[in-house]
Amino acid sequence: MATTSTTVPGAGPRASSRSFLSRLRDGDEIARLLTFLFAATVVLITATLVYQLWVDSVLPRHKFGWKFLVTEVWDPVFDQFGALPFIFGTVVTSAVALLIAVPLGIGAAIFLAELAPRRVSDALTFFIDLLAAVPSVIYGLLGVFILVPLMREVIQPFLRATLGFLPIFSGPGYGVSFLTAGIVLAVMVIPFIISVSREVLMSVPRDVREAALALGATRWESTWKVVVPFARPGIFGSIFLALARALGETMAVTMVIGNTPKIAASLFAPGYSIAAVIANEFTEATGDLYLQSLVELGLVLFLLTFILNGLARLLILLTERRGSGAYA
């Protein structure tokens, strides 16, 4: 947005001096119209999506109102529907995923972009891009066959023995849990963070690095104090992408989360996520209220994504202001 508003005034005087017809002939006007149309389509699709979700969830909205968001019960037999356990599960699994994936992903990206020899970096990046293309059901299967037994027999007992005094690492464990889902999600989003962050880091101008080195910075100082802050908006972009994928992931999550709509303090407890419950229950949802409650969950997921993205952006704005202040 910002770039268009800065370039238009520059091109303005010359552009307006030419007649509309000549601009049309040159193709400028056509290109402008076409690209505008394409951009507008995206907005239109989003708007239609929200509108449709809104219209198709009229029954539960009227019956439960805002209570839908804070009710813990999901009972199709007695027509009681609440979104809270699903919101909880979605947020917790995504948070666990980001807690694991962000340091790992950014660390790997820094190594690949700044420290590794170019050949190694390119080869590794190829594999990372390959990982990003693996279908989620495969991650789910790996989760079921490898991670779930590992969690049950090794990781959960270990965490309980060492960090069991923390409520999040206590209680019985079945293998399927918030933590397991979070770890599978982390594995799934790491390639996104690495791939995008590496590109961004590599696009930092050479001059910046050389300037830092010339001022006597070590290789690590130039990377950590100059290159990374320079690339920060792009790195945050990669985290948004990861967050969006984690929030919406369905198949892999449903295979390892335990599909139990309950809120628990322990990460070892089975839970449920919004996307998973929609996928699981949609086909067999009998009754309009039930079906529409699932649609409303879709709306909630959309809003949740919206709000979390907004909050993340706010966070960047705040840290950026602080950051620029410190550098100025």
């Binding site: 199709p76 007695f78 998973a276 086909t283």
Partner: protein, 342 residues
């Protein structure tokens, strides 16, 4: 050259259209549980009657009911009968009703994984309800141990595994638990998906089996066909006559025969906890949902023809695919009902 190719293309199109017009295409959608036999039936019927082609989408019982009510398919299929509200909705929309036709029977069995126990366990209705309500939490609870004298049951916590997605299997299972436990009926109720008091959810019969196999001390429930085909452990259940019956096709047909005497006109009947010494208590019909009035005479005759074939020759395919056949009484009754479709 180009022109010839074009002509060929046109000819191909014309032939395609002609072919499609000469054949009669009927679309159905619904339950996944009977999908293997429905696919077999529609395929065999198409071989015998080349001009009739029946497409079936196994989208789930709930979706089957919805699609036939919306009119997007010619018939539906469901593992649980439509409820009164849904029947009324259909009647109100079209001015005529919808007819349930039982096709085959299936059963649901409790499956478990108890390290060190290699015998088939016996389950009383009280034990099953207690376990799934989360009230019986240990394997050596007297409610389980009492029916399994001589078996060394561990003092381990029971891990309950249930279906995560809505399913006909869950409908039959919860229908049974509702009948034998008042607490289940008032607290949880019956349905394709319910608010489970205990346990973890897994997707599909294969998901439940997978979790039960992996998780020591767990118990779940799966369709009989699935348990038989995959050779997994499953227990016997005490029926209403007080006999422990391990599910097999004969026991399921026995349950159906017991219910056949009091079969209502609309066939919407539950045969869980059926009377009879040899009846397996957790069994159910699965139904085709056919509109009582079909405008298109061709489709009407084709569907009626298929239903008659399904009730006679078609039944012979049931047991090879691990479904229980309909009892004779039910077949005779359905034959009469077919004539009411107009």
């Amino acid at each position: 050259m180009k022109r010839i190719a074009g002509l060929l293309l046109v000819a191909a199109c014309v032939c395609g259209i002609a072919h499609a017009q000469s054949g009669l295409l009927i679309n159905g959608a619904g339950a996944t549980f009977p999908n293997p036999i429905y696919t077999k039936w529609f395929d065999e019927y198409h071989k015998a009657h080349g001009n009739i082609e029946i497409n079936y989408a196994s989208v789930g019982s709930g979706a089957g009911i919805k699609q036939v009510t919306d009119g997007t398919v010619d018939f539906g299929a469901s593992d649980g009968p439509m409820n009164d509200e849904q029947m009324k909705a259909y009647q109100d929309k079209y001015g005529f009703g919808i007819q349930h036709f039982p096709t085959v029977l299936g059963a649901v069995v409790p499956t478990y994984n108890l390290p060190g126990v290699n015998t088939s366990l016996n389950f009383t209705p009280e034990a099953l309800a207690g376990i799934f309500l989360g009230k019986i939490t240990k394997w050596n609870d007297p409610a389980i141990a009492g029916a399994n004298t001589g078996v060394n049951l561990p003092a381990a916590d029971i891990v309950v595994v249930h279906r995560a997605e809505g399913s006909g299997t869950t409908y039959v299972w919860t229908d049974y638990l509702s009948k034998i436990s008042d607490e289940w009926k008032t607290r949880v109720g019956k349905g394709g998906s319910v608010n489970w008091p205990a346990g973890i959810g897994a997707k599909g019969n294969e998901g439940v089996t997978g979790v039960v196999k992996e998780q020591p001390n767990s118990i779940g429930y799966v369709e009989l066909i699935y348990a038989v085909q995959n050779k997994i452990f499953y227990g016997a259940v005490k029926n209403s006559a007080g006999v422990f019956v391990k599910a097999d096709l004969a026991g399921v047909s026995a349950a159906a025969a017991g219910a056949a005497k009091n079969m209502p006109q609309d066939y919407r009947v539950s045969i869980t906890d059926a009377p009879g010494k040899s009846a397996y208590p957790i069994a159910s019909f699965t139904w085709l949902l056919i509109p009582k009035k079909i405008q298109d005479a061709g489709k009407r005759d084709a569907l009626k023809g298929f239903l008659k074939w399904m009730l006679t020759d078609g039944q012979n395919y049931a047991e090879t695919l691990s479904y229980a056949k309909l009892p004779k009484e039910v077949v005779a009754k359905e034959m009469n009902t077919i004539e009411t479709i107009h």
